[in-house]
Symmetry: C2
Subunit: 252 residues, 2 copies
DNA sequence: TCACCCATAACTGTATCCACTCTGGAGGTG
DNA sequence: CACCTCCAGAGTGGATACAGTTATGGGTGA
């Protein structure tokens, strides 16, 4: 399957600022990978992509380097880059780190959000309900992303970047989750509400517990879904992280 | 201060594989930044750097994009890139994440190292003692890095990449720590030993406790050292992370 | 002394060229 | 028929030149 065919139905590349074409290309390709339009294993040929996107190879190669640094594509010398896929094991450890980091982020953020930020979080929460009921999952994803980002907003720029990167990585597989378990929305929304209230009220412990349980639940469903086609092996890493966050290191 | 002068005393750029000049340039520049030879705020001019390193701008710009993705340099359109510096607050949150992630890594690795890996860790441990007594801090850093990496070796490729990135970021500031507190080597080495034994014996809880305490101690010294020139504000993020790892989320 | 302006320098993107490497198929060999 | 070798074409990586745009810094005038 050629790249031109794969992205044929999508919106084309937008370059709002011609001074940073490589950034636009990077964002565009990242979205293609995260959305699943470029499935794992897809070969990315520089010349073909440059022709399809109507940019030269120079900014394209810079975008490749950024994607490579994020772990989304592979890059071996003189070999075509490929979209990287995660197996169940890797996804388990990724989610374990995500559970841990976002829980820490929620704890560091608890009680520190401004009135303005709290209002934004509430708005995102309501937007999630609205878009879900309307079946507009694309907008739901945007609101969901914004909601989670606000609730870990005080953990420093570097850590925030990592959390975003992990969220993007795992978002590729959440799509599976959404399709398979589309009807337990209300319980997930209740989890979101619990996180929000704990962070709003400055209860760091509750924020950690709520965030950890929420993400661990997602992780279990996603990894299970991925394992349907392969031998399932559970989520040992996520379980370890969850136990660590809830009970501390005393319980081995 | 020009770049030529800053790196004049150092070894030049080595390009072992001419097929990946950009990777060599990336590694070289990263080392320069981490070592402090390029202090925060240093302007990086593409043309000048390309001339000094005897490479063209193409691989140089790819290296810049990778450094930017790692948060080591800033990149605004049509502006010179600058080496990014961390303030005490950002360093605190970075270390909080590092404490959390590496403790998780140690837990996931506990009891899973092969005999070969355990031997390598022991060798690195002894090398740290030898090089420290010999005053060869460059070699000590290499051994120390290797030691820490081995003890979190089973936490998945993505997380391992993050841990490495964080370690590099903070390594820039540990140098200060080494100079100021060079004489408590024995206690730090005891901490290293405690981590090693817990991981070797498969005691996940002890591994977490040992790793968390070790890194938190380093964090406090480093942040304190950084705050000498600025108003000190302690390490609230690291303290929160440490409490979370040791006691779980029940204690707020 | 300070504010402003302009020439210079620097960055970005594009295009093109060349060297090197890898891939995949044709053809030969056992 | 399976396997190997070899080679042409495709692909990547790097160097260089050029155009357009912007920041910078020093000189000038108030």
């Amino acid at each position: 399957m050629s790249i031109g065919e794969l992205i044929g139905g999508r919106d084309g590349l937008r370059i709002p600022d011609p001074r940073q074409t490589s950034v636009s290309v990077h964002t565009y390709l990242r979205d293609l990978i995260i959305s699943g339009d470029l499935p794992p294993g897809t070969q990315l040929k520089q010349a073909e992509l440059a022709r399809v996107l109507a940019v030269s190879r120079t900014p394209l190669r810079e975008a490749f380097r950024m994607l490579q640094e994020e772990g989304l594509i592979s890059a071996e010398p003189n070999q075509r880059s490929r979209v990287v896929g995660l197996d169940a094991e890797e996804l388990d450890s990724l989610y374990a780190a995500r559970v841990t980091l976002e829980s820490l982020g929620a704890r560091l953020t608890a009680g520190k959000l401004s009135r303005e930020e709290l209002r934004s979080a509430t708005a995102a929460f309501r937007e999630m309900e609205r878009t879900y009921k309307a079946g507009d999952m694309a907008s739901w994803t945007v609101a969901h992303r914004s909601f989670h980002r606000l609730l870990v907003g005080r953990c420093g720029a570097t850590v925030l970047r990592t959390i975003n990167s992990y969220a993007q990585q795992s978002e590729r597989y959440v799509r599976i989750d959404q399709n398979q378990h589309g009807n337990d929305f209300s319980s997930r929304q209740a989890e979101h509400q619990a996180i929000f209230e704990a962070v709003r009220d400055g209860d760091g412990g509750a924020a950690v517990a709520a965030m950890a349980n929420h993400l661990a639940g997602t992780a279990r469903r996603v990894v299970d879904g991925l394992s349907n086609r392969a031998p399932g092996h559970g989520t040992p890493c996520v379980d370890a992280a969850l136990s660590l966050l809830l009970n501390g290191c005393s319980t081995t």
